[in-house]
């Protein structure tokens, strides 16, 4: 099969490209760097010619509300239009668990628009909603740090390893489109302060976590369980401890 991975150079993208190639598929890693630009449309038609599956893992270069919205709208439209022209049989996109429950956030609104564009396009599709990656934990801690204190709301939290995400994306890319949403998450459920404390301790970070009941996540107010899947979800194989030790080993 010919598979085009948009954003193929990113955290998940690079892993997916590797896994698909390993499985013997013709994989094109598309990114502005490889001359394929979903914002300008440049190189899209050529890349999509005779393509069976498109995996969209691209992320906005800016996280400012307006810019994010513009990015996902423009990229989504250009990409889906090109797919229709090329007769692509499966469009797979990565989204976020609870995206519809966190519409206070500009980023989540943009991701929801992306999902809706896909659903309305008529292209056979799979929307894979994932929880946060273990790899984000450091970033979550940083954005909530004031001085030596990390202010974290006691939200439920079920992060997944990027490796598992790549595996699920790869599997889905090679399966029939579900024409709906597939949720994936990590194998364990935690509270966010609990997990961040453990992370900081493991990294011998001197910062202290202070839990609160403000229900804040990146400045947006969400519900306790917004970040964890409801209903059926596929759970990753790598648990937090395993992931942590592999990270420490790498470091």
């Amino acid at each position: 099969m010919k598979i085009v991975v948009i954003g193929g150079s990113g955290l998940i993208g690079s892993k997916v490209v590797a896994k698909l190639s390993q499985a013997g598929h013709e994989v094109i890693s598309a990114s502005p760097a490889t001359g394929i630009n979903t914002i300008t449309g440049e190189g899209l038609d050529e890349a999509l010619a005779n393509t069976d599956v498109v995996v969209d893992l691209a992320n906005s270069p800016s996280f400012e509300d307006k810019a994010v919205m513009e990015f996902f709208q423009t990229a989504g439209r250009n990409l889906l239009a090109a797919e229709i022209r090329a007769g692509v049989k499966h469009h797979l996109a990565l989204s976020i668990v609870g995206v519809d429950l966190m519409q206070e956030s500009g980023y989540m609104r943009a991701k929801k628009v992306q999902e809706d564009l896909i659903k309305q396009s008529g292209v056979p599709h799979t929307i894979m909603r994932s929880t946060q990656f273990f790899e984000f934990i450091g970033g979550i801690a940083n954005q909530a740090t004031e001085g030596n204190i990390v202010h974290i709301s006691d939200l439920q939290f079920q992060p997944i390893a990027a490796e598992d995400v790549a595996t699920f994306v790869t599997e889905a890319a090679l399966s029939a489109p579900v024409n709906g949403i597939q949720e994936i998450a990590g194998p364990g459920r935690f509270t966010m302060p609990e997990l961040i404390t453990r992370y900081l301790e493991a990294a011998t970070d001197p910062r202290k976590v202070e839990a609160n009941q403000n229900l804040q996540y990146y400045g947006a107010k969400i519900s306790y369980a917004a970040l964890v899947p409801a209903g059926q979800a596929k759970l990753g194989a790598i648990n937090f401890d395993n992931w942590l030790s592999s990270q420490l080993a790498k470091a």
Partner: protein, 706 residues
Amino acid sequence: MKRDKSQEPQLPVLSQAVLEQERKMLLDLGNDITRVRDKNDLLVLFSKRLKRYFYFTHTIVTLIDEKSGTYTPFLLDNESSPIRKHPMYPELIQAHFRLNEPFIQTVLQADGPISFLLEDIMEQPESPVFLKVNYEKGVREILMTKIMMEDKPMGFIHMYTDKPGSFTNEFRSVINGIIPQLSGAVSNIIKNEEIHKTEREKSFLLDFSNEIAQVRSKTDLQAAIFKVLDKTMGTKLAMIRLLDDDEVHLSMFMCDPTLFGGTKATFEKMSGTRITVEEPYTSKVLASREGLVFNVAEEIRSGNDYAKLWATTGLKNMYSFPLRVGNRNIGTIWLLANKLSKLLLKGICAQISIAIANIQANEKLLAYKKQLEDENDYLKEQIRTIYNFSEIVGNGAAMQEVYRLISLVATSGTTVLVLGETGTGKELIARAIHNASPRKDKLMVKVNCAALPANLIESELFGHERGAFTGATDRHIGKFELANQSTLFLDEIGELPLEAQAKLLRVIQERELERVGGKQTIKVDVRLITATNRQLEEAVRKGQFREDLYYRLNVFPITLPPLRDRPEDIAPLANFFVKKYARNAGRKINQIAPKAMLQLRSYSWPGNVRELEHLIERSVLLSPDGVLKDVYLSSKNVSEQQSPAHLANRSLEEVERSYIIEVLKRCSGKISGIGGAAEILQVPGNTLHSKMKKLGITKADYFTQG
């Protein structure tokens, strides 16, 4: 196809902190929901709190009704229900679903929460319709959990989701954990609602009772009833019928004429007819202990004409209740409503019964009071007049005839017509007849028909109901009613307007009357005495007096002679009055000087006895003690007054001649000097002599009797 994938769902491992958080949440939720007293708050709280941790679309609580073998929605999570816009929603939240079907039986037999994919169960023939309705709005799975009270299922909590697999084991265990508290909360709410309901009904009855206790009139009662029934209970008063005094008929007492809009005429016809206790519906209601309920639709089918009217209100049931005070039926009340609480209905009807009894008692009391006041006023008035005419004086032949007639007619109940010029003592005669009759123990009632404006005479005679005409602010008892079992004396009957004559005729013929503006017929037993100074036959001829009435009144006429025709009575009368007024004025006058008596005898007395009385009164006041020497006959009166006997067409000469003869007669033939005819005629004695000669008046003319 989807179901293949939904084998055992993968479940995450929960960390200590997550478990701790959920435990705490459960505890908090448990604490909070046991404090909830308002039914609407409970499920909203439950749903909102639970949604922080778990995903589901909405939830409802249904309660089992064991009597009917059904369950029905009790608590609704309206905010999030996706089926709220479904056309069947309003019907569903009122519906009763059967317990006797496989779906709910499976739930009842399950140990804990049990979930179903709607697809699997909704098409089964006996499954409740809400499953399908939810499916149509995107719901895919349902989690049913029994709510237990004292080891018995009392209802269910239904939870719905559009994401199959939402009801994880963790979710179920949380639900299982919260069920005891939820059951407690629901039963608290049920008990609370029952208490509130009885409290509301009681306080409502209290308010109603307070309001009704102040009611003194029908209008007040009507206002109170309408206010209470309509505004607070969604109930319409159709009608209150009360038993009449005869205990057989029922008359309409109160109704809401606005109730039957378009069919007003029919309603008026039906309500206007007096019915008896034998009327099938009424007899059933009166015989029932706690009233009856008629289903409007069923009654229409069974051909009840009233029910068609009832149906126009759109209300489903007609509640009828016997109104009782103690064990005595006083009437029936008819109320239209969809549903009424028995306790409330009974309470209200008891209050209304008492209020009506009070009003009836009050009305009777007022009527008695009014009657007493009327009689009192009347008595006071009569005391004044009776004192003036306590005796009839005079023994002349003309009066003897009158006495004879009075004694003949007095003891019978015959109608008497007293005729005579003004001042001849017609009222005195009427009173004498009354006093000699078996009715003498009751007061004779007198009406002067000339003393009242035509528009008031009817109400004066026959009475009126409140509101019969402008200004009729109170019910008025007529003189006819006042004179029941007594005598009614109608003075100046000739002045009675024609309209009133017709009514009077009816009363005489039928011996019953209706008050102006009233519908009730009142039987009266009245002896009628009428009097007039007019020539009634002449009035009949001119069409001013009804002939038929004239014959009715003229059964036994008594004609009183004018005073000038019984000069022999002038002396006794004058002495009688002198005594009376001397006593009144504190004067010691006990006789009249012969000269004065001569003047009195020679006067023509156009005003008859009354004029004599007044003249004496004045003379007594103007006279010093001892002997009454001067009478103050008004000379002007003498020349201007003409007695009716001399009104025929005659020549001046004839008039002059007969007048001179008449004056001479009164002066006992004395022509000149004091008390002579010349003085009265105000001519010199010689002139009178020559006039007599010219007119050929001889002694024979004025010394003959007649």
